[in-house]
Symmetry: C2
Subunit: 424 residues, 2 copies
């Protein structure tokens, strides 16, 4: 197809009529589809049903440490769960504290503690300082941004590149002692799906931060979420930070939410021994311990990191089909000069940039045709996309048939919005 | 036996020799027993094993609302879990938000939010105020006190009476606007085991508080933990607060920790609709939702409040024996004039007051004989019992045989410590 930017007005009008009539056919169907939710559908969850199949008599309620997992105690998690996470992620067991079902909660709690008590290296609780700022890589994860916005930080946008955050900009921003940290989804980033380059990881570990208590919130949510055997490789940031003496800078998170069950997985936080000691002191005031039976459920099912990988390959078959459907549909836009999108090798999202100024219009057109997209701007601080161009496509939740229809409509809406703009 | 305070020096010396020799016999056995831990033993946990016996195929993973409980979402809990809590406690479903496995965490989080953002009625976040104070009923629950101590409150002690906190003193303290709240375990209080009288509950609901954002942390941890059909009755504080227009004052908590599994139960918070709206706004920044599969496990097993009651009567048989053993042993101290103790109709603890100045010595004597008691002072703010007289006896964790030996040694240690003091 021909680049829209090179068409004559008449050609544009012809194309508009054509696309519009196709779009109207879908609209007339009164559909109700959803491309907005970064959550698995029930078929994917069924893969993990064996975790719930097993009856658990008394003798299966004990940890390798001999502890009765039904009872109180073991604040930082049972040893076999730490071992599993360590094996999955290639990090040290002694850095790990196992949490409840939500890594988001561990992240919020980590920053709430920083506000109330400070972190290792802080001169005072962060709530006693004024004008604090936080770096947000954009487009990024709305729930990250919301945490730091709610805690009162000024959010600073740094653009995502194919190698990760624009590091020149990050290195400049961290010269300001008011800048206390940065949100990172380093592998299969939400929503762009790309992975930080080795050089980016190294520069994050190495950079000079004016704040003595700067923190990298390293949300490795998609650590093992490859769509095939050939996944992206992410450098181990702990190894790099150790080299540069910045180990305390790293707050590392992940969970099994998108491995087993989003609502009933196991989350974890990893940090340097010094950090962990401070964290567990306060965590021990907050709770006696997280759900160890659910940890046991996971370690009974997954013997090691390799078992997790095999399980992820089963999920990849299902999710891979959805990515394929989405990317095939987007191929319709190839060469039109009105959109760019990512082709991730893992994770949960495809990031679609439409013609600047057109994202909201695409959202509207989709809504009118009965397809819900993630709100435009959700991937930016304060919910505002300054160029009104980014759409986060979440292909996992609909069925394949629904997805085929929804993405077909999407390409029509993207074309229609561009044509409207060009014809203005 | 004769009151020690009426004995001659010679009689005291004879008694000392007698008790000392009995104590030494136990000491020689090299025992290792524990009366310190307010946690159930494995036999009690076995009563709840049916919750873990059931395999959960896909069709059993859905809430009555049609929601897939394996997935993300449903921040405030599935409807059937709210209904179960409402039925158990006689409170309104619409006041309830279901949490994770820990009510302590819900309490910490509630106060951490108050510090960071304030509560309904606050003029500013509490962390922006100086010199805040908090009322602690003593003896009380060490983990409560630790939360407010850690958050920077000055802790004010108010003595527990047989009717609950000394309300004259509470009513006076709340005239200070710096006093932001009070910790309450209103039924089978930890550690005294007594229940607040109707009048106490009414006065708490009715009292004039200078702080516009005063909060009663109503930890109804032992709401259904009667040791027999004839349990204590606690007035519904929400009903009272409604009468006096102080509904926003109440933050209500409970959990199934000591109903099913301490490490894997379900916790909840209840509050007025106005409070709940503010709470859920921030909770929704902290997490996408708590573990709904564990909620389903509980509601699959407990059809209603009556089912919970029947289950508690099974537990009461086991725990009742332990209370009987403990109280029979303490009968040995009857009439000696050296100790007083509570005889609770439910809960988890017996509170023992020994001769003033003797509690630490009893702790030492027990330790030397191989029995761990809860640290002296743990039931008081900052861990200091000003009269050095209170001991919290936790009878549930040891086996019956262990408990018989441990409580026999306890009565000897109490007598020995008193005799040492009287002979000085």
């Amino acid at each position: 197809m021909k680049n829209y930017n090179l068409l004559t007005k008449q050609e544009l009008q012809n194309e508009y009529s054509l696309v519009k009539s196709e779009y109207e056919k879908y609209k007339a169907q009164g559909l109700k589809l959803d491309l907005s939710r970064g959550k698995p559908n029930s078929d994917q969850l069924d893969i993990s049903l064996p975790l719930l199949a097993e009856s658990r008599p008394r003798e299966k309620c004990f940890s390798v440490s001999g502890f009765d997992c039904r009872n109180y105690g073991v604040l930082d998690g049972i040893p076999e769960m730490k071992k599993l996470f360590a094996d999955m992620l290639g990090i040290k067991e002694e850095y790990i504290a196992v949490g409840g079902n939500s890594s988001l909660q561990l992240m919020y709690d980590a920053l709430a503690r920083a506000m109330l008590f400070g972190v290792v290296g802080s001169e005072r609780p962060w709530c006693k300082e004024e004008g604090l700022k936080w770096i947000c890589v954009t487009p990024g994860y709305d729930r990250h941004f919301k945490i730091t916005e709610t805690l009162g930080f000024e959010l600073l946008s740094v653009p995502m590149t194919s190698d990760g955050p624009d590091m020149d900009m990050v290195e400049q921003l961290v010269c300001d002692p008011k800048v206390k940290g940065i949100w990172c989804v380093p592998k299969y980033s939400n929503p762009t799906g790309n992975t930080y380059s080795d050089e980016t990881v190294r520069r994050l570990a190495k950079m000079e931060c004016a704040a003595p208590d700067f923190r990298i919130m390293w949300d490795n949510a998609y650590a093992v979420h490859d769509l095939g055997e050939e996944g992206d490789k992410l450098l181990n940031i702990f190894d790099e930070a150790e080299k540069y003496g910045t180990l305390d800078r790293i707050f590392y998170f992940t969970s099994t939410s998108k491995i087993t069950f989003p609502g009933a997985g196991v989350a974890m936080m990893a940090a340097s021994p010094k950090n962990l000691k401070q964290i567990l002191t306060y965590m021990g005031v907050q709770t006696i311990g997280y759900d160890k039976l659910n940890q046991l459920r996971h370690t009974s099912y997954f013997s090691d990191g390799e078992a997790v990988h095999k399980h992820m390959m089963l999920l990849a078959e299902l999710i891979g089909e959805k990515f394929d459907i989405t990317l095939s549909a987007l191929d319709e836009l190839d060469g039109l000069g009105i959109a760019e999108w990512t082709k991730p090798r893992g994770g949960y999202f495809v990031s679609l940039n439409v013609m600047p100024g057109c994202a909201k219009r695409v959202f509207e057109l989709m809504k009118e045709a009965g397809v819900t997209l993630t709100s435009v701007g959700a991937t930016f601080p304060y919910g505002i996309d300054p160029r009104d161009e980014n759409l986060r496509i979440a292909p996992t939740y609909p069925t394949n048939d629904e997805l085929k229809v929804a993405t077909a409509i999407l390409t029509l809406a993207v074309r229609l919005a561009a044509l409207e703009k060009l014809l203005k």
